[in-house]
């Protein structure tokens, strides 16, 4: 399971190290003012080297941002995957829907700008389709584990019928009942609904507690 590079020459080693530092500074900058304000020049300055040097490491600004998006996806997928291995449980136990929901919200609040990099307004040049969809499939797999365990019995509606015939996205769970597929999609879209409104500040000044709204949606999902 080693990385793609084979012998890891000391040169390549240094290269990766610099790339990581660039991305680190980039995250700091994003955390401060969002991805649209990310400046290669500023990063270079901050690293003590001047402007065009960064183009040795990233072809252009879009490539850097695309990489950051990919890392954001990765970090969310890892958080999901690690949800089962929490304090109480022993090994890699299956995480319940409620636990996954908490992981998701915690991850989002930990760095809202990172959340928006994944689920916010899509920006023109960015987004690497192949990569991110594979990572999303990973998360869906974890989610579907929980959903097949917690989904209610029968309850066949129009949507379930549609989902039964369109389950390509749930490739990891070809035998999941339609009710589980539906639950997974509801989990995804509803929690994202509350979260994005909260993080974008649409609840501020309304005097209500986003955490309670979120909890209510989670309750509605697991009921």
């Amino acid at each position: 399971m080693g990385t793609t590079g084979r012998t890891e020459s000391p040169r390549e080693r240094y290269r990766q190290q610099v790339r990581e530092e660039v991305k680190e500074k980039a995250w700091q900058q994003i955390a401060g003012s969002g991805a649209s304000a990310l400046s290669l020049n500023a990063i270079a300055r901050q690293m003590g080297m001047s402007g065009p040097a960064l183009y040795r490491y990233f072809a252009n600004r879009d490539e850097l941002i695309t990489e950051l998006i990919r890392d954001a996806y990765r970090s969310l997928a890892d958080a999901f995957a690690g949800a089962g291995t929490g304090s109480g449980e022993g090994g890699a136990g299956r995480a319940g829907l409620a636990a996954l929901a908490q992981v998701l919200r915690r991850w989002a609040l930990e760095d809202p700008h990172r959340y928006f990099l994944v689920y916010g307004t899509p920006v023109p040049g960015y987004r690497a389709p192949q990569d991110t969809t594979a990572i999303t499939a990973e998360m869906m797999s974890v989610l579907l584990d929980a959903c097949t365990a917690e989904a209610p019995e029968g309850r066949e509606g129009a949507l379930e019928e549609h989902l039964a015939g369109h389950r390509e996205w749930a490739g990891s769970h070809p035998d999941a009942p339609p009710s589980a597929l539906r639950l997974a999609l509801a989990f995804w879209s509803r929690l994202h609904g509350v979260l994005s409104l909260e993080l974008a500040g649409h609840f501020t000044g309304m005097g209500l507690d986003p955490a309670r709204l979120y909890a209510a949606e989670v309750d509605g999902l697991t009921a």
Copy 2:
């Protein structure tokens, strides 16, 4: 109900006209490549006048974008308000939740970038708090009309209790039952959840029909 300017001098008239034309070009540009790619210079060029002339009409780029955001809010609020006065019904009849949901989705699909200007990633300098919250209150008023009519009876949960004590945001409907408040928030957050995922392209390649997902959420709300 006239505009704020009083006597409408011919000079002011022309000024407003140019402002409108600028915003129009701005919308075209946004529709093409999103708000982040909006360029004052390009707009000026497109209008046959050169660069800094636009600064007679807008203090800076952020002011223009803020205005566009406000107009986007306005257009959504108008769409909501006009939902009752549809084809079949006579005058300004109350719109049902299902009708409002359709209006919302139609509005969003009509110009995704406009949707993201309102509900997408919040961008640094923009957003005029006072203005937009007032318009949101308008929409909430229409929404609460429908919700008080269609909300189920009792059903008191933890969230309803919280909402009963925090109803500042529903100022227009001080007597709305908590179940209606809850329904309105669920409508808002759930439909936004599906919509934003759809518009951001997170469903593409999954082989499922966003319209059906949306319809299913609407059904769940009105059930």
